[in-house]
């Protein structure tokens, strides 16, 4: 839906005027080229497969592992969770919105069985060899959300609720039930009541992110299928698919249930009415796409020298700002994610990367940069969705309304004026 640039209001003078005009015309921050489309769709697919594991394991940790003080096997998901039906996809879905299957994706199932080594070694060896889905990345995202709390207040009710007495009571009940018959832990809990409560908040964020990604995985699977079928032909098509998806699922409940000895403890009951868009999606985008934290890659940050901002709000280390060149350095979250995605790249992307830069040798970086492009497309969808929810249609006849839209877009683009933002880079195909 490429609409002509509006002539009802004068052109923008913003440094990113070109991008703003594109957004006003119904486009994305990412230029609409076949190459970009291929990269982002391929990455959505490669991202969706590990994500199908992320959400299952996150819910497993939040609901089953919970406060286990020695959670050595938290990434060894139970079969029940691995085969768990998605609530919004598959034949047995509560509300079928997406057409894919509800149980675990076949590529993922095979990978879990055999790993990259294709050897039927015991799972523990695959785990220690990092021949597995790297949940460390998912946990890093969860921690970013926990750490940057109070985002999107006051519309985000999830976060204040974690500090409410009601939550504390629910959590206390679950903690006491979990450590029943364990006097040491109960004594610790009585002495330091905040300690396990904070752990419980973390578990609530495990559940929050798990429920968020439960929705995103089938979205990305479907967008990839549609592209393969030729039904998604441009970057705005992909973005609009995401926007529609966001609205279709915006009301999905966000909750935290814990299962202790077969009994369900509702730490955050569904009845609180927390929803997917405001309590999970928007905080997620803010925490993971924009802020995150200065983890160590090849660059180390010196907080005492002022290299890390004093105010958490000013953090800009997320995927939209990240330097992808250090990807490949052991242990940093982007590398772990890139490795996960590398296992599930569609063939057309493997061939594409072979032709550029160092081919096989730096595929991790190339795909990490494609991932950055695809996340700019997701962020564009979020910006367009917010504009649709809070402001006016793009084809509104009233120039004042268009001006309000313009101001909104400009304020969003202001966040990319920082020198480390990659919005400028992704405008060019040379950045790879």
């Amino acid at each position: 839906m490429n609409m002509p640039i509006s002539t009802k209001i004068p052109p923008s003078n913003h440094p990113f005027a070109e991008v703003i005009h594109r957004l006003e015309a119904g486009g994305a921050m990412l230029p609409d080229t076949p190459e970009n489309l291929m990269q982002i769709i391929g990455l959505y697919k490669a991202y969706a497969v590990p994500m199908d594991f992320y959400w299952r394991d996150l819910l497993y940790i939040g609901e089953q592992v919970f406060l286990n003080p020695l959670p050595f096997f938290k990434f060894f998901i139970s079969n029940e969770y691995l085969q768990r039906e998605n609530h919004y996809a598959g034949d047995n879905a509560d509300l079928r919105i997406w057409r894919g299957r509800g149980t675990v994706h076949p590529e993922l199932e095979e990978f879990i069985k055999q790993g990259e080594l294709k050897k039927g070694l015991p799972r523990l060896f695959h785990h220690l060899w990092h021949d597995r889905i790297n949940m460390e990345f998912a946990e890093e995202c969860m921690r970013a959300m926990l750490w940057h709390r109070n985002m999107y207040a006051p519309v985000n009710q999830f976060d204040p609720y974690l500090d409410s007495d009601e939550y504390k009571q629910n959590a206390d009940r679950a903690i006491r039930a979990y450590f029943k018959g364990n006097p040491l832990m109960l004594a610790l809990h009585n002495t330091f009541p905040e300690m396990f409560l904070e752990q419980c908040r973390e578990a609530s964020y495990y559940a929050n992110l798990g429920l968020f990604w439960e929705v995103m995985a089938p979205v990305f699977f479907e967008i990839s299928d549609l592209y393969d079928e030729g039904k998604i032909a441009s970057v705005p098509d992909a973005m609009n698919f995401l926007v529609n998806g966001i609205f279709a699922i915006a009301g999905r409940p966000i909750y935290h249930h814990v299962y202790i000895r077969g009994e369900c403890y509702e730490i955050i009951p569904k009845s609180k009415g927390f929803t997917w868009l405001y309590e999970a999606a928007l905080p997620y985008v803010e925490a993971v796409f924009y802020r995150t934290s200065p983890f160590r890659g090849t660059k180390s940050y010196n907080a005492q020298a002022g290299q890390v901002p004093d105010d958490q709000k000013d953090f800009h280390y997320g995927v939209l700002y990240a330097d992808k060149f250090p990807v490949g350095t052991a242990g940093i979250p982007p590398t772990l994610l890139a490795q996960d995605m590398l296992h599930f790249l569609p063939q057309y992307l493997v061939d594409y990367y072979q032709q550029h830069c160092r081919g096989e040798d730096d595929m991790l970086i190339q795909l990490a940069i494609s991932f950055q492009r695809s996340m700019y497309c997701v962020t564009s969808a979020v910006i367009q969705a917010l504009r649709a929810a809070l402001l006016y249609p793009l084809d509104d006849p009233n120039p004042k309304h268009l001006m309000a839209n313009r101001k909104f877009f400009e304020s969003q683009m202001d966040r990319f004026l920082r020198p480390e933002a990659r919005l400028r880079d992704i405008q060019s195909p040379i950045y790879r």
């Binding site: 090849t298 250090p326 490949g328 160092r358 991790l364 970086i365």
Partner: protein
Amino acid sequence: MLSTLIWLPVFGAAVIGFLPGNFASARFRWGAIAISGFLLLWTLWLFTQFDLATSEMQMREFVAWIPTLGINYSLGLDGLSLPLIALTNLLTLLVAFSSEHLTPQAQVLKRPRLFYALLLLINAGMAGALLAQNLLLFFFFYELELIPFYLMIVIWGSAKREYAGMKFLIYTATSGVLILAAFLAIGWLTGSANFEYSAIQTAELSQRVQLILLTLVVIGFGIKIPLVPLHTWLPDAYVEASTPTAILLGGVLSKLGTYGLARFGVGLFPETWSLVTPGLSVVAAVCLMYGALAAIAQKDIKRMVAYSSIGHMGYVLLGMAALTPLSMVGSVSQMVSHGLILALLFYLVGVIEVKVGTRELDVLNGLLNAIRGLPMTSALLILAGMASAGIPGMMGFVAEFLVFQGSFTTFPIPTLLGVIGSGLTAVYFVILLNRTCFGKLDNKTAYYPRVTLSEHLPALALTALVFWLGIQPTWLVRWSESTTTALVSAAPVERQIVLSQATAITAPVLD
């Protein structure tokens, strides 16, 4: 046996030079590799035949050439020339193997036929000069080196190559004139029937004449080494020359200067030499400090390495000036060590230049990056820097330590300055490594091609050698011990007594 080292490369150069020009460049390359590889094997075989016990010339060959003028084809090998022959052949092989890798991607190595022919001629000239036992024969090979080197600089050099080549030619031709004058005077004044090295007796000359002749020799070879203040051709020549030429200039040619000094300075004028050593030790200290300080100030990493070369040749001179058995062994070891480490440094800088496209310290950054950088090259550069700075475990340490240990009793202050210079080496290598290898790779520019295994191979081989000779230094020093001891023992007796008294006096104090 020794003639093979001279005539095989000459023959190879002729064959390559007369092959049709439309042959693929790879054929010339493999031809040069085959010949230089064979020469290296031949040298290894010479090592097995070499008698460690004697300080006499071995494997002598003699053919009368122009007897009336006293010019004969007279060759011989001793502990001074053998390690340098090996160094020359190793570096020739390395250059033959890697010249194409060290040519910027956008251009191929132009005129490969001429290049490889000149390379083999250089090898022949070096071997001839190192083996010659006749003064004029030495001079013949010494001058022969000039032509291929001049051509190498002006044909394959960078922007200011004509200027650098001409400067190199003028300086080294002057060096040649001085050496020729000295040699002719030595031959005529001593009244020997020919210019045979072994036949010359300088003892009957007056000390004043000896001093004049020695001065000519020192200045002549000092230009070649080069010693400060005769060094100004070096930074231009090393930097403007292409990387393969720079490896040969620094690794091989500069050794002719120090070799000449040891052979014809220390060897022919032992008494007068010990007269001038205090002055030479000061020159050595100046070289050391000047080279290090100038290197610190550079912005171009190749120029930095070039200045480091000046500093490190200072150790060779310091060891020779001290003239103790230990320091002389150190001196010879330092020649080899300098040749290998400098070649490694130039090679790695050349790889960086080819891949990244710049040598500017202010532009380079983050090359250690595991995937998009040049991690192996950077890692080897760090090792090479450590070797050059004399970190124990690598051969740079062995050579420098021997020099310091041997020269401290004779020249404490220049030695201490040498130790400081060694510390300053660490300073400029930390600057170099910090700017080039560490830091953040620039997203705008960092799309460098990968370094292939065959491009790594020469650097890996040199690094392995640097480590091996650092851990097993006996393989480095054993060859030259007899020869250097003989050179030292030719020094005047009083001096040796003074030295032994000095150690005798200090020994109880140390206890």
